[in-house]
Structure formats: structure tokens, C-alpha cells
């Protein structure tokens, strides 16, 4: 388990580095396409650093806000608080901040940068559907994400992917729009080298979101199995989580305020997955979560 934590910390550092590189590249591409020189590149680098820094400290708040979560009241959600407190004692963790998302689809996620600064959110649907032991199983799974530092990797990936997509989107819009109006001038002024730079820059802008997406996929689905296993290590009661996962499997509601970027945070894939669509085998590669059936089977074998 400690190796897993160390690996996650290393991975976070590499990811922040990759994040800075991709954003710098994308911003450089914009600068090269529209002018600005080396000063522009340096500014781009500084902006990328600032964004990486900001996402390290604020990614949890962004994730909470994006899911429209509100703080869970101590008295109204007594059971939720009690279960988390108990599990935190078992795991030797400080109690995370607890949130509730008003949504009938049962689901949950954890976020933050370390156990001391962590948050946990569940949907009202989850609280309604699950009984005590099932809810405990789900919360133990989420607390394991906190304990293993999965939350750090995940939340940073969420912000990184979002930012990269935004920047390259802006760049591409400008390129398309600008390209329509003054392509002739550009070609005439800068010759073949200018054209090569322009093409390379466009390619970077096109590929940047994909690179970001691949980084997100680097969060291997294996960590869901691991969180299931270490969650059960806390409750010492696999049937609780098994029956919770079975309820999630039989429920087809979709979480409203979940986007592609935040998908990997939830305990279950929050978005619709259409099995019958052509190319669903390929889509499987990009699933953020392993199929619930597999997870249930692995728990039953324990």
C-alpha cells in the first residue's frame, strides 16, 4: 500500500510536469501563429506554471463546485457523518469535509490534495438507496482513494484536461477564423519556414486535448479494484460493498452534473455507456471505470 502511495505522488509530479509542457506547447503554438515572439512564449510558460500551481491548491474546490455539491449538515445527515467518522478511525485518517449532491442517481466521489485537505461527496440518491452496511462499503471505497492519494492524481488530471481543452479550443478558433481572413498575407511574409511553423502549431493545438486525455487514462482502472480491496480491508465486510455495487449495477440513472472531465472521480461511471453502439469495444478502452460485474466478481473471490 505504501508503494502505491509513493507511486501516486510520483505520478502527480510527472503529471504536473506534463501539464506544464502541454500548456506551454499549446500557448507557444498560439503565439507563433499570431505573433508575440519570445516574450509571449515566456508569458505562456509562466501562465502554465501558475495554472499548475493553482490546480494543486484549488482542484478540490473546483471539482466540488462543478458537481454542484453543498456541505452536508451534521444533523440532517447524521448517519453519513457517523459512518465516515468510524471509518476514519479504522483507517487512521482525519475526517474529510463532507458534501451532498442533490441528484437521484446513486454515486459518490472523493477529492483533494492530501488526507488533511480532502472532501467526500455523495448524491442524495445514494443516501436514499443504500442501507447502512452498503453505504459504509461505498464510503470505505472512497476513503481508500483518499488514503492512497488517488484523489490527488485524479483531481489534478481533471483540472489539467479541462484547461488544456480550453486553451487549444481558443487557439483553434482563432486559427480558423484568422486563417480565413489573412492567409495570403501570412504566406507571402514568412515563406516556407513560416508555413511549417504554422502547420506544426496547428498540429500541436489539435493534439493537445488528446494528449491531455491520454494523461487522464494513465489513471489506470486498476486503482478502482485497489480501492475496492482496501475499502473492504477497512470494513472487513465484503458483502456490504458487493451489495452496494449490485444496486449501482441495477440502477441506470445518470448523474446530472457529471462531465467527461470529472467522470473518473465517481465510484461508478456517471455517464451513459451505450453497449449496443458500434465501436463500443473501442470505447471500452476509454472507460474511466472497470465494469461493475468484474468488480463484484473480484470482491466475491476475496
Amino acid at each position: 500500500m505504501n508503494e502505491q502511495i509513493a507511486r501516486n505522488k510520483r505520478r502527480t509530479f510527472l503529471m504536473l510536469l506534463g501539464f506544464v509542457v502541454i500548456i506551454t506547447l499549446a500557448a507557444t503554438a498560439i503565439v507563433l501563429l499570431f505573433g508575440g515572439g519570445w516574450v509571449g512564449v515566456i508569458i505562456a510558460f509562466v501562465i502554465a506554471m501558475a495554472l499548475a500551481w493553482g490546480s494543486y491548491y484549488n482542484s478540490d474546490k473546483i471539482a466540488i463546485a462543478a458537481s454542484r455539491a453543498r456541505p452536508a449538515d451534521e444533523n440532517e445527515y447524521r448517519r453519513y457523518h457517523n459512518l465516515v467518522e468510524g471509518l476514519c478511525i479504522a483507517a487512521g485518517l482525519p475526517k474529510p469535509k463532507l458534501f451532498v449532491v442533490d441528484d437521484p442517481a446513486p454515486n459518490a466521489f472523493a477529492t483533494g490534495r492530501n488526507p488533511k485537505h480532502s472532501s467526500l461527496a455523495v448524491t442524495t440518491g445514494l443516501l436514499d438507496v443504500m442501507n447502512r452496511v452498503e453505504l459504509e462499503g461505498v464510503l470505505a471505497h472512497e476513503l481508500s482513494h483518499i488514503k492512497n492519494y488517488d484523489i490527488l492524481v485524479t483531481t489534478i488530471a481533471v483540472t489539467a484536461v479541462g484547461t488544456i481543452a480550453l486553451i487549444s479550443d481558443i487557439g483553434l478558433r482563432f486559427a480558423f477564423w484568422g486563417g480565413m481572413t489573412d492567409r495570403r498575407d501570412n504566406n507571402g511574409d514568412s515563406g516556407p519556414i513560416g508555413a511549417i511553423i504554422a502547420i506544426a502549431s496547428l498540429a500541436v493545438l489539435l493534439l493537445a486535448p488528446f494528449a491531455g486525455y491520454l494523461m487522464q487514462m494513465a489513471m489506470s482502472r486498476n486503482r478502482e479494484y485497489l480501492a475496492d480491496a482496501s475499502g473492504v480491508q477497512l470494513t472487513r465486510y465484503p458483502p456490504g460493498l458487493i451489495s452496494a455495487l449490485e444496486k449501482l449495477r441495477d440502477d441506470h440513472a445518470v448523474v446530472h452534473h457529471a462531465t467527461k472531465a470529472t467522470a473518473q472521480m465517481w465510484i461508478e461511471q456517471p455517464l451513459e455507456t451505450d453497449e449496443k453502439k458500434p465501436g463500443s469495444r473501442f470505447n471500452k478502452l476509454f472507460d474511466t471505470h472497470p465494469p461493475l460485474e468484474d468488480r463484484i466478481r473480484r470482491l466475491q473471490e476475496m
Binding site: R78, R79, N82, L83, G86, G92, L234, R236
Partner: protein, 183 residues
């Protein structure tokens, strides 16, 4: 010159191993101590809930005097218990007495519908979970500590600085039987 550098590097590495190993042992030993006191904290929390519960049930079922007295006496015994074995025994009696109390409550629909009673029931279940989890965490901490003082190279440090092996929390043999509920 090269020899000197090699010696310096080796010595530094040894010091580093020593330093990290020793700190790791201290950290684990403190965690074991902390986990042990956490059990007491959680037990106390459980004891504090009981008078409130008894009062609430009394409001609806005043004549079930015997049950209340049993719970109150079991609570007092649990609070005064000294050794871990004694404590485990007393806690178990208390759990049994509380079960009878809840069994009594079953017969009073008004009580069962009382929000305050339901809250107390939830609190008490959680309090019992917390005690169990605190014991689990204590045992996990002991396992990690004991493993570390037996592993090389920290086994050497453990020997020099007298890091003693710790005992697991074990439910006493009579505790593993299901308590008998008397009506």
C-alpha cells in the same frame, strides 16, 4: 582522495539508513500508543450516550425498572474497569444489557416512532462501530510496528534502543460467545 570520498559516502549512507529507520520505528510506536488511547476515547463516547438513552426510554416505559437498572449498573462497571481484559468483559455485559433495552423498546410503538429515540439508536450503533474500528486500527498499528521491529535492518535498531514487541487486542474467550439476552 577517492578512498576518502568512498568512506564519506558510505558513512553518510549508513547514517541516513539509521536516521530513517529510527524515525520510522518511533513513528510506528507512537501510532500504537495513540491507537490504544483512541479505544478509550471511543468507549467513553459510548458511555456518555447511555444516560440519555435510558431517560428517553423511561419516558415511555417507566415500569421496565429492571432493564434500566441493569444498563446503568453495566455502564458503571464498564467505566470503572481497570485492566484491558476486565474492560472487555464489562463492555460485553453492557452490550448485552443494551440489547435487552432495545428489545424492550420493540414493545412500544410510540417510542419506536420517537425521533429522539431513533437518533439515539443510530448514535449508539455508530458508537459501537467506532469502538470496533478503534480496536481494529490498534491491531493494524501493532501489526505494522511488530513487523518493523522484526525486519532487517531495523531489527538491529529495535534491539539497541529497546523497542519492545506489543500485544494485540484480543477479545477474551468468553466474549466470543453471543451474549444471552434475558427477558
Amino acid at each position: 582522495m577517492v578512498a576518502v570520498i568512498v568512506i564519506v559516502v558510505v558513512v553518510l549512507l549508513l547514517l541516513l539508513t539509521f536516521w530513517l529507520g529510527y524515525n520510522g520505528l518511533v513513528k510506528r510506536r507512537n501510532q500504537v500508543d495513540n491507537a490504544w488511547s483512541q479505544i478509550d476515547v471511543q468507549l467513553k463516547r459510548r458511555h456518555d450516550l447511555i444516560p440519555n438513552l435510558v431517560e428517553t426510554v423511561k419516558g415511555y416505559a417507566a415500569h421496565e425498572r429492571g432493564t434500566f437498572e441493569a444498563v446503568t449498573a453495566a455502564r458503571a462497571n464498564a467505566i470503572n474497569a481497570q485492566s484491558p481484559a476486565e474492560q472487555a468483559q464489562a463492555e460485553n455485559v453492557l452490550s448485552g444489557a443494551l440489547k435487552s433495552l432495545f428489545a424492550v423498546a420493540e414493545a412500544y410503538p410510540d417510542l419506536k416512532a420517537n425521533q429522539n429515540f431513533l437518533n439515539l439508536q443510530e448514535e449508539l450503533t455508530s458508537a459501537e462501530d467506532r469502538v470496533a474500528y478503534a480496536r481494529q486500527f490498534y491491531n493494524d498499528s501493532v501489526l505494522s510496528y511488530n513487523t518493523q521491529i522484526q525486519k532487517f535492518p531495523t531489527v538491529l535498531l529495535a534491539g539497541w534502543f529497546h523497542f519492545e514487541k506489543r500485544e494485540f487486542f484480543d477479545a477474551a474467550p468468553e466474549d466470543t460467545e453471543t451474549p444471552q439476552v434475558q427477558f
